[in-house]
């Protein structure tokens, strides 16, 4: 029996946040269900089908991280976007490491959340198609010696100690019609899980790509600003974005997912 389908499940213990998110969701003509705690969310997940889950971290009884692991153990593959008022880098990294596809710090603007929801919905549809072995969807996984932060950004240590960072094929495919890429200037210091690249799409939305690792930008791939399609064609080699000198690689790399784990 087919379960009833909604686009989005919203989990937050504050009604005003649920109202805000639901307003944004409705504006984009998505359907949604909202709950005030994670246990109820698990019940809803049994009852209905969702494209996307937007979940707060600080929740009564069962917090967002516990909810994530519960979802994983129940083999529910609905993508999860984490959001929290306690918006620290640690929380962001931990959320992405634990399986969330995106992390949105509160308070967010309408546009910020809209772009993330768009990507999330797209992510889910790509995932479904892939599952049905749809040949029109080919997502190139990142090379096995690479590391990634969440599903979206990758890094590769070079022999000289510098690190190349870029966007994954999956991330690029969640963007609809790339219009413009905005890079940070040279010598800028990046912090792990903070915005590093702005992608503007034709629909006017700004998509932020987070930095995989902290460090100083020593080189930028200017070619991609002129030919953004390079990013789509060869995201892991020709389509690199920054070369950086990492500041705390030993510590930060522990929170990254090795791409070798994607190939089993």
């Amino acid at each position: 029996m087919m379960k009833e389908h909604f686009n989005i499940l919203i989990i937050d213990d504050e009604q005003v946040v649920i109202d805000s998110i639901s307003k944004i969701v409705l504006m984009e003509n998505y359907t949604f269900v909202s709950v005030l705690d994670a246990r109820e969310a698990l019940i809803k997940l049994e009852q209905y089908d969702f494209d996307l889950i937007i979940c707060d971290i600080m929740l009564p009884e069962m917090d967002g991280f516990q909810f994530l692991s519960k979802v994983e153990s129940k083999r529910i593959d609905t993508p999860v976007i984490m959001t929290t008022g306690f918006s620290t880098i640690e929380n962001a990294v931990k959320a992405l490491y634990s399986g969330a596809i995106e992390f949105v710090p509160k308070p967010f603007t309408v546009d910020e959340l809209t772009s993330v929801i768009h990507r999330g919905i797209k992510y889910n549809s790509l995932l479904r198609k892939k599952k049905l072995n749809d040949d029109s969807v080919l997502i190139v996984p990142c090379p096995s010696k690479y590391f990634r932060l969440g599903y979206s950004a990758w890094m590769n240590s070079d022999f000289d100690g510098s690190v190349l960072i870029g966007a994954t094929d999956f991330f690029m495919k969640t963007l609809e019609q790339l219009k413009k890429i905005e890079l940070l200037p040279l010598n800028e210091i990046l912090t792990q899980a903070s915005p590093a690249v702005k992608f503007e799409t034709e629909d006017g939305l700004i998509h932020q790509l987070y930095s995989v690792i902290s460090g100083t930008i020593i080189d930028r791939n200017i070619r991609i600003t002129d030919e953004p399609e390079l990013l789509e064609k060869d995201p892991y080699f020709e389509g690199w974005i920054y070369r950086i000198i990492p500041s705390e690689p030993a510590y930060e790399m522990k929170l990254l997912i090795p791409c070798s784990s994607d190939r089993n």
Binding site: K23, T84, G85, V110
Partner: protein, 627 residues
């Protein structure tokens, strides 16, 4: 305290016993030699007397005037010093005696006066003077008596005398026996003994008083001070220090005690500060969380209104203000989280000298206005360090403003000195990564010691199994044991992931001889430590070889009003301010947080009326290389 347990009592006792022994031995020999001299003198005297009597009676003897002889002997015997004078014949009969009642009595040859010659039953005719004297107790036993016997030898005039009393065959005709009372001599010896005794007593009392006095001065008083100080420290008064320290060992102990207390105080302050910052961090996190949720509402709803009122520029303008101010609030809350050390500082390689100069330029006018001379003693070879330039500049700015306020309106000076210093790696290096031989990570970020992720081992002690979390600071020993371990039984340590033993069989702990664990620090060699946890031995060759860790030190000294001691403990507390409405009281606590965040430390020395020195130490080199 029991007086018999005091050092002075013990010292006095030991010294007294020694003095008694020395004086006793000395007195013994002294008195003995005195007695010998006296006795020899008396002997000589007695002998002389004996000879005199013999000579003076010779003539009357030859005349055989017996009454005359008796008369002479009685007279001589009347001398108080002379106890008795007797003349005996060869058979032992008393012929003459100062005590007339004795005349005619026979003496046994075994009697003591005869014994010297007649010991062998056959008389010896010649005796030395020593052998002819004897000492014995008087009949009444009150004094001693010295007796001298003087044999009267036969000579021609004796046997040729008219009386024909003696034949020519006898060699010895009789014996003159004189006994002299030693009462006087004994009294002098006794007096001497009493004198020696009094001398000994006076010496002991004197020495006792002198030792007691100096022990009280040199030991008792400083010890009392020390006891008072330890009591104060035990009661929690870490500002207490011992004054009037002497130059001896107790003075050294006192100085080392003062040093310990000061160090304890500093550590305590840092700990207190850390704890407070941690709780303040939690507060800030809580506030941030609570404020961010309503801000979400404000931001989204105002953005919506913006979209819905595109045709009304007036409302658009007002709404833009709301959106803008909400975004600003978002940044403020983010700053609050930064303050709570939840966000990583944006570190880059910075030149501290340059940052100081930049901070100085910001407050140039204030410096001029207050007529302060700003002196920079820069180490021109100061290496660059990895730090957040803005935060570090904020630190200097705050300290400079404080210094200007302290100097006041009447001018003064602020001296900034930069230098390089070295500190030992033990107790300062954090182990940020550790793996077993199969490269499984041993780091446990869930369990923290001192706010840092720990190193996790599986531990088996007897039949119980559990986890142990090692203190991640090299050389420190605040390990947390998941199970009660028996330090005497064999412990097995293994990797919690694969169970591979972490014990290095080829090594023994150099301190207790027990087993040693060995874990790998990726790219940083390996760490060894005592696996029985009887001691805190740890060895990290690579770090030890790298030697002391390098720091740069920045000292900001002013000759202003100083900080009163009662405020000194509070200056790094949030919201503590002496500036009334002028300050928020966050300055120094923020500085503390920033320096702590850079793995550095800040300390202060101050004297009211003379000035204040703030010392900041920041680790050198790339923090990424600091493990």
């Amino acid at each position: 305290m029991n007086i018999f347990r005091t050092i002075s009592y013990k010292l006095i006792l030991v010294v007294s016993v020694t003095v008694i022994l020395i004086i006793g031995v000395y007195s013994y020999f002294n008195i003995k030699s005195q007695s010998d001299v006296l006795r020899a003198e008396v002997e000589r005297h007695a002998n002389q007397l004996s000879e005199s009597v013999k000579n003076s009676t010779r003539y009357v003897m030859l005349l055989n005037q017996r009454d005359h002889i008796q008369e002479m002997i009685t007279r001589i015997g009347k001398d108080p010093a002379i106890s008795n004078v007797r003349i005996l014949n060869k058979e032992g009969e008393i012929i003459y005696s100062a005590k007339s009642e004795d005349i005619g009595k026979m003496l046994d040859k075994k009697a003591e006066s005869c014994y010297a010659c007649h010991a062998e039953n056959k008389a010896i005719e010649k005796l030395s003077i020593k052998e002819r004297t004897r000492i014995f107790k008087s009949d009444t036993d009150q004094y001693r008596i010295l007796g001298v016997i003087n044999p009267i030898y036969n000579e021609r005039s004796c046997y040729e005398a008219d009386c024909h009393a003696h034949s020519s065959k006898s060699k010895v005709l009789g014996v003159l026996d004189i006994t002299i009372s030693l009462a006087e001599v004994d009294k002098r010896i006794y007096d001497n003994q009493i004198r020696e005794l009094i001398f000994a007593l006076i010496s002991i009392t004197g020495i006792g008083f002198i030792i007691g006095f100096f022990v009280k001065r040199w030991v008792d008083r400083p010890v009392k001070e020390l006891v008072k100080a330890t009591d104060q420290v035990a009661a929690g008064n870490l500002n207490f220090s011992i004054k009037n320290l002497s130059n001896d060992e107790l003075g050294t102990l006192g100085r080392s005690f003062n040093n310990m207390t000061r160090k304890l105080d500093e550590t305590n302050q840092q700990l207190y500060q850390s704890t407070k910052m941690a709780s303040l961090g939690q507060l800030a996190a809580g506030v941030a969380h609570e404020i961010n949720n309503p801000l979400t509402g404000v931001l989204t709803y105002s953005s919506f209104l913006l979209k819905r009122t595109k045709d009304n520029p007036q409302i658009q303008e007002d709404l833009n203000v709301i959106v803008r101010e909400t975004m600003r609030s978002r940044e403020i809350v983010k700053g609050l989280l930064d303050f709570a050390r939840q966000s990583t500082p944006k570190k880059s390689l910075i030149d501290v000298n340059e940052i100081i100069t930049r901070a100085e330029s910001v407050i140039k006018n204030q410096i001029k206005l207050n007529r302060v001379s700003f002196i920079k003693n820069f180490d021109s070879a100061l290496p660059k360090i990895t730090a957040d330039a803005n935060q570090i500049q904020q630190v200097f700015l705050n300290l400079f403003v404080n210094a200007i306020d302290a100097v006041g309106q009447n001018g003064g000076s602020i001296t900034v000195t930069t230098s390089q210093i070295n500190l030992s790696p033990k107790g300062t290096t954090q182990i940020k990564n550790a793996v077993c031989a199969k490269t499984h990570s041993l780091i446990d970020s869930e369990h923290k010691v001192g706010g840092m992720p720990t190193i996790k081992f599986k531990i088996k002690s007897g039949s119980t199994e559990g986890l142990i979390h090692l203190d991640p600071v090299y050389g420190n020993k605040n390990h947390s044991f998941g199970i009660a371990i028996d330090k005497n039984s064999a412990l097995s340590l293994s990797c919690p992931t694969c169970g591979l033993s972490l014990i290095d069989k080829n090594n023994k702990c150099p301190e207790c001889g027990g087993p040693v664990y060995k874990i790998l620090i990726p790219n940083q060699g390996s760490l060894e430590g005592c696996a029985s946890f009887k001691d805190s031995w740890q060895k990290w060759d690579l770090i030890d070889k790298a030697g002391e860790k390098k720091f740069i030190q920045i000292q900001i000294a002013d000759n202003g009003c100083g900080i009163p001691p009662e405020n000194l403990s509070k200056i790094f507390e949030p919201f503590f301010s002496t500036k009334g409405q002028k300050g928020t009281g966050l300055g120094l606590s923020v500085i503390w947080g920033i320096i702590d965040n850079h793995n550095g430390s800040i300390s202060v020395q101050t004297e009211v009326g003379k000035g204040t020195i703030f010392s900041i130490k920041l680790p050198q080199g790339d923090s990424a290389k600091n493990i």
